[in-house]
Symmetry: C2
Subunit: 183 residues, 2 copies
């Protein structure tokens, strides 16, 4: 069985996989390399350093976030969808939550998202794109923070049942959305 040749994409993929199973603490360059049947130093041919790898990981998640979302949907539906989606992503990659919350999305990706999300959201909200984006970003910060509270340090079983966090998520996101425009 010929292993896939090393590449930035494969390394990122492997990093995410380790994050899922081992948690953030288990994510070392050596661990990634071992899973790819390679020595740690070899990774540096494809990736500048670990920080750049994590940045790429954050950008990857951010990029997937927009995905195929219907940007023309009403703002509340749109924001809810993205909040739920972010929560889903962070749930399936628990270790990634801390990374995503800690590191900012790189400017290019942020700009790209702003360009796509800003205008339709601003139109639906009947406000400026600046304000619309700031509200969206606030919501993401909130969702990421909630995820962090739920499984901040993995492996680490949550201190409360999942239903509790579901209710918390609904309350927090709902409250924030109500604040944008009361029902």
């Amino acid at each position: 069985m010929a292993p896939r040749p090393l590449s930035p994409a494969l390394i990122l993929e492997t990093a995410l996989d380790i994050l899922d199973h081992e948690g953030g603490a288990g994510l070392s360059m050596r661990a990634i390399a071992a899973r790819l049947d390679v020595k740690a130093a070899s990774l540096y041919y494809h990736v500048r350093n670990k920080d750049a790898l994590l940045q790429a990981l954050v950008d990857h998640v951010a990029h997937e976030l927009l995905g195929d979302a219907d940007l023309t949907a009403p703002w509340r539906e749109l924001l809810t969808t993205m909040a739920v989606r972010l929560r889903g992503v962070l749930r399936t990659h628990p270790g990634a939550a801390a990374v995503v919350a800690t590191k900012n999305v790189s400017p290019e990706v942020a700009q790209q998202i702003a360009d796509r999300l800003g205008p339709p959201l601003a139109a639906s909200l009947n406000t400026t794109t600046d304000r619309a984006l700031l509200l969206a970003q606030s919501l993401f910060v909130l969702v990421a923070g909630l995820a962090l509270a739920e499984f901040g340090d993995v492996p680490h079983e949550p201190v409360a049942p999942r239903a509790f966090y579901d209710a918390w998520f609904d309350l927090a996101v709902g409250t924030f959305l109500d604040g944008i425009d009361p029902p």
Copy 2:
């Protein structure tokens, strides 16, 4: 000049000081020890391990958060005060933001805060203590997340001027509070 004798409190104090000046990356047990003219291993006589030290740091911040706040104030004023206070603490200890956001407050401290804050806040909000505390916690998560976005990885100059983050803070917190009870 006889140096202060080692103690958990002094170690925590020193850790916070390093966090302020060097950032999270510079916070090593050896760095703490060096600043106290002591060898790293000696710290372990007073502190179980680094994780426990960081947990104590989080609890310390959380405990200071309530401090002398006027718990009988109207809920909006009370929550605003605490949000501003948390922001202030995280601003003066930038490196601590990542730690505070990542680690949960220990159960005992959380219970202590809940006992003090829950009843008056619930009364002012005219709701259950559970809901009141969940809302308060959501706000804290939001504020911590905003701080993380502003200086997630120090040392690292913010990508936007301070005024931008001030405006963001006002908008996000204001929106959330509006969501609790529209003006």
